[in-house]
């Protein structure tokens, strides 16, 4: 068996915000080609974990390490992490008034291309290139001329996130509750976009409350997070178990074991 490349390795991670401990010793290894789902209740620390991987400066790492493609990324700025191929799809994408979506996307893409030693795309080249990608999330061209996320519906914001993922071509995509607030049609569009963008060389982490996203995207591993750590890991069946018996049962079971 050929050994797969490790994309992300988190070792015994403790992190806090304003002196409040949120992550309590997280361990997680994600290899290329794998899709991981992290499930857990509100406040279990899963969103925090995703933001810490992306480098959100409001959190403090107290202990432990995060390796991305064998490099410790603790000292990297969020933009450096992005340029290296880490992508975070936001649970609540932020509005940037007055900044045209297409201009924002072009600057973002060129920043990543620079890191990949690819030439920067000018306005015209970019326009052509982005139009091809719009189809992945079934977005209308007119989205590009609107201000970033401004006045977008919940579903439009999430699709805009997946469009960014398609454009930035990350190696590691962390999608934080990308399914929340979506109706079933929008969920399918977003899920099929994620499936299309995943490949053998890439890794994807889905953070979700619900099993329903996992009907559309098949995870290789499911992790249950509680009180800032992963308390149980399994396959797809774990998500189903969770849906049937609830977090309480799994929590109790993990205490016993």
């Amino acid at each position: 068996m050929t050994s797969k490349k490790i994309i992300l390795e988190i070792k015994n991670l403790y992190a806090s915000i304003e002196n409040k401990l949120i992550l309590n010793g997280v361990n997680l290894t994600v290899n290329e080609g794998e899709i991981h789902a992290i499930m857990g209740r509100n406040g279990s620390g899963k969103s925090t974990l995703s933001k810490i991987i992306a480098g959100d400066p409001i959190y403090t790492i107290n202990k432990g390490e995060i390796y991305y493609e064998n490099q410790n990324i603790e000292d990297l700025e969020p933009e450096e992490r992005s340029n290296k191929g880490i992508f975070l799809g936001f649970q609540y994408p932020v509005e940037i008034p007055g900044v045209k979506n297409i201009d924002f996307l072009r600057v973002a893409v060129n920043s990543r291309r620079k890191d990949l030693n690819q030439s920067e795309l000018d306005t015209f080249e970019f326009e052509e290139w982005v139009e091809d990608k719009l189809d992945i999330v079934k977005m209308n061209k007119s989205f590009l001329d609107r201000a970033v996320n401004e006045g977008f519906s919940g579903g439009e914001k999430k699709r805009n996130e997946i469009l960014q993922m398609a454009l930035l071509q990350p190696n590691l995509s962390i999608l934080d509750e990308t399914d929340s607030g979506l109706d079933i049609d929008a969920l399918r569009i977003v899920a099929s976009g994620i499936n299309r963008l995943h490949s053998e060389k890439k890794a994807t982490i889905l953070i979700t409350h619900y099993q329903r996203l996992l009907n559309e995207i098949k995870p290789d591993f499911v992790h249950i997070m509680e009180n800032g750590k992963i308390i149980k890991t399994g396959g797809k069946e774990l998500a189903i178990e969770l849906e049937e018996s609830g977090y309480e049962a799994i929590q109790n079971e993990s205490k016993i074991s």
Partner: protein, 480 residues
């Protein structure tokens, strides 16, 4: 975790225009009195009417008190401790650029304003003002063919005294305010523009003001007249060296538009703002007013204010002619300890006059940025319309933004709309952009540009991108 650069760190970067040019200057003694005013007038070989104008202004000024209503809190200015006239030696009237001091040419080169024939901005005529005098005006002949006069006001006084006499002080009367009266008494130089009937000025006109001396006050006078059915677009830029003392800059700008004429006046103001503790910098106390005298005339002010330790100015429009239009588009950015109190006055006098005000204030650091504006509709201004929009953007949590809109309407049918908003660049927005590979500084400047977009759209093409990058530069080092 990452070491986070704070918003305030990204905002502190050096001022690239802060160098001093070492040349010999001729200065008159400090202080202001009748003999100083006579001396200035004599040095400039002025006709009788102008000396009278100056002396009248001086007498008015001596009776006036420095205004305090804006609460700007600057230390008392000793008007007897200022030099009112300073000029590079032997500069008076060079017929060609070859005779201009190489140091001065180099200064303008460094500022990105090449005056040499070959290197000039291709479609912009430039009048370069160094301390109190105009050094050179480019493209004079080409403009002359169209009948357009573009020269220093001193030259206009000599060559076109009748025009100067007819319009000078007719928009901003000498007793209009304390600083306008002071300027009228001691103004040194500035630009004069005259666009004859039925003429569209074939290129952008631009004046570039450079303060070099530290102890010299700056009192430019600009007069632009657009005759019937003519049009002109004019841009001024300003920089100064870094001194740790404050320099007073009290200019007066007067615009006159006759029937169907239009004047577009744009400013990119980047005087030295003082250091991050507020030491030094220019006091920019300027009176700018346009008179839409003719029917269907139009005056449009666009300003990008980024410099000066204190900016205090309200470019205004007197809408006298029927169907005349006044516009004011402003971006004012303050950082560190800068103070800006700026806005406009739209005085509706004629029927169906219209005005539009769009003001964007950005406050960072410990600065204070206020919009102060007046919309006044007189009883005769039937059908008058105004639309005002004043937005403030706060960067960091130490800055201050204020909006003072004054609306006075004596015309019950007038339509007046006012919208205002205050927003803040949030850490969330910053992290969002960063997580897409966009660095701190670029992210902030992107958000600031987005915020200013409505105003940049009104700047002349050549300068919109300049203004954009200037804002970026001013905000470098400010993020948190």
């Amino acid at each position: 975790m990452t070491t986070k650069e704070t918003i305030s760190e990204v905002l502190e970067k050096s001022y690239p225009y802060g160098f001093l040019t070492d040349i010999e200057t001729e200065k008159i003694p400090k202080g202001i009195n009748e003999s100083i005013v006579r001396l200035i007038s004599q040095k400039k070989n002025e006709p009788e009417f102008l000396l009278d104008f100056r002396l009248k202004a001086l007498r008015q000024w001596q009776k006036m008190k420095e205004p305090e209503w804006a609460n700007l809190n600057y230390p008392h200015i000793d008007y007897q401790d200022i030099i009112y006239y300073s000029a590079p030696k032997d500069i008076e009237k060079k017929s060609s650029l070859e005779e201009v001091d190489a140091e001065i040419l180099e200064t303008f080169n460094k500022l990105g304003i090449p005056l040499n024939e070959q290197k000039r901005l291709s479609n912009v005529a430039v009048d370069a003002v160094f301390d109190s005098v105009s050094i050179a005006t480019t493209f004079k002949e080409k403009l002359g063919k169209e009948g357009v006069i573009f020269c220093s006001i001193s030259e206009a006084v000599q060559k076109y005294p009748d025009l100067v006499k007819r319009y000078l002080g007719k928009v901003v009367p000498i007793n209009d305010n304390f600083f306008a009266a002071l300027n009228s008494a001691v103004f040194s130089d500035g630009s004069f523009v005259f666009i004859p009937k039925n003429t569209q000025c074939p290129m952008e006109l631009s004046s570039y003001f450079r303060i070099n001396s530290g102890d010299t006050g700056q009192f430019e006078r600009t007069l632009i007249v657009a005759e019937e059915s003519s049009s002109v677009s004019y841009l001024e830029g300003c920089t100064a060296p870094m001194f740790d003392t404050n320099t007073l800059h009290a200019a007066v700008v007067e615009l006159v538009a006759l029937d169907d004429a239009s004047i577009k006046y744009s400013t990119v103001q980047n005087w030295y703002a003082g250091d991050k503790d507020g030491k030094g910098g220019i006091y920019n106390f300027v009176t700018k007013r346009g008179r839409c005298k003719g029917n269907r005339s139009k005056i449009s002010w666009s300003q990008v204010e980024t410099g000066s330790s204190i900016t205090w100015k309200y470019p205004s429009c007197l809408l006298e002619g029927e169907d005349s239009i006044g516009e004011f588009y402003s971006v004012a950015l303050t950082n560190n300890k800068q103070i800006a109190d700026t806005g406009t006055k739209m005085i509706h006098l004629g029927k169906n006059t219209k005005s539009t005000i769009i003001s964007k204030g950005i406050s960072a650091g410990h600065s204070k940025n206020s919009y102060r504006g007046l919309v006044q509709i007189s009883p005769k201004a039937i059908g008058a319309k105004n639309y005002s929009q004043c937005d403030s953007l706060l960067i960091g949590d130490q800055a201050e933004a204020n909006t003072y809109p004054y609306i006075q309407s004596k015309q019950k049918d007038a339509s007046i709309e006012h919208e205002a908003s205050t927003s803040k660049i949030s850490e969330d927005q910053l992290f969002y952009l960063q997580s897409r590979g966009i660095g701190n500084e670029e992210a902030i400047s992107m958000m600031v540009s987005g915020f200013c977009r409505d105003v940049f759209n009104h700047l002349p093409m050549e300068f919109a991108s300049e203004a954009d990058s200037l804002l970026g530069l001013k905000l470098e080092g400010s993020v948190g």
